[in-house]
Symmetry: C2
Amino acid sequence: MNIAVLGTGVVGRTIATKLVELGHSVRMGSRSADNPKAIEWAASAGENGSHGTFADAAAFGQVVFLCLLGAGTLEALELAEEDNVDDKIIIDITNPLDFSKADFARGIGPTLYISGGGDSLGEQVQRRVPGAHVVKALNTVTANIMVNPGMLSGHHHLFICGNNAEAKSQVSGWLREWFGWESILDIGDITGARATEGQMLLWLKLWGALGTPNFNLQVVR
Amino acid sequence: MNIAVLGTGVVGRTIATKLVELGHSVRMGSRSADNPKAIEWAASAGENGSHGTFADAAAFGQVVFLCLLGAGTLEALELAEEDNVDDKIIIDITNPLDFSKADFARGIGPTLYISGGGDSLGEQVQRRVPGAHVVKALNTVTANIMVNPGMLSGHHHLFICGNNAEAKSQVSGWLREWFGWESILDIGDITGARATEGQMLLWLKLWGALGTPNFNLQVVR
């Protein structure tokens, strides 16, 4: 499958590399066509890896992964151009983190610039490209676990949400087939992004308490 | 032990009833000395149950449970009077939920009126009574599970936080001894309340998805 990965950070490179390993053709998109990190990634990825602008990548992909910093997400979508994602599934991994007051040396993490349960970045993404089918997923775990959930020692859940049931079903199948996600819990429409983005606050505290980002949550009934 | 339970709702009554069953003397506090729900509870609780104003209860308790609606919490503390909780442990179970725009029939839950990671109700409580030792705990599970975590079928975690390590250790011991909490995860100082209060958003979505409030989370590594 032809897949777009928008974003050149750790999440984007981890997802893109895994997808190339699986035999997919991946185009990494960034703001400019000559982004050094995208060029480096494409060179290392071999013949199934390519790079380009956000619009190049979005046009190329049959499905689009959003692996962007929260603050840059809506602008990146604008640059990707709405027509290029029309009727496509967007897997939105972004979180609305505000790092402006974070001070990791003093134990102060980022805050959320959208929160409280009245809106979310996932909803803003869906509103910006209403013709696309946005599925919020993977944004509650660290990059290594996104593509290798089996690295943890027990049963654990991935929370997904979105307005289109068929798109969620399709994404669940891909996440299982590509990455090995066995337990995917659909928490409803895209307003569920308010909850999974809000998870970042607990995630950051747990990282501090556990001393590792390699963890996830299991829902116990 | 003499224990204060501030609040007459489901959480307050559940906690108070369990503590009386365990042989503790519990005074339920409310805004007025003649609150019908507090009177009814005390009558049903037998000789170890009593009721009074927030100040009566706070003065009585060697430890104080806050089982209040978020919006009424700081005023209740004001009425409880700072001197009555000085150097005491406060177990804060409150959540800053705003129900003003909730419409459960349409699937719209409450929002959080403090959120985003810059402050929390737990911190506001600690700032309001700086001489008390506030431990945020139990606010991430439904009342039945607070006092009976063993009702769930697997291993699961309670997240607690607070500024005073000794108070957290004491509270952990009580929660184990009184209610049966076996896995308590200390996520740090009282700023952890930003995370556990923020959990409400996921908790509400999971309630919707699972069709029951009887669940909790296990951290899997």
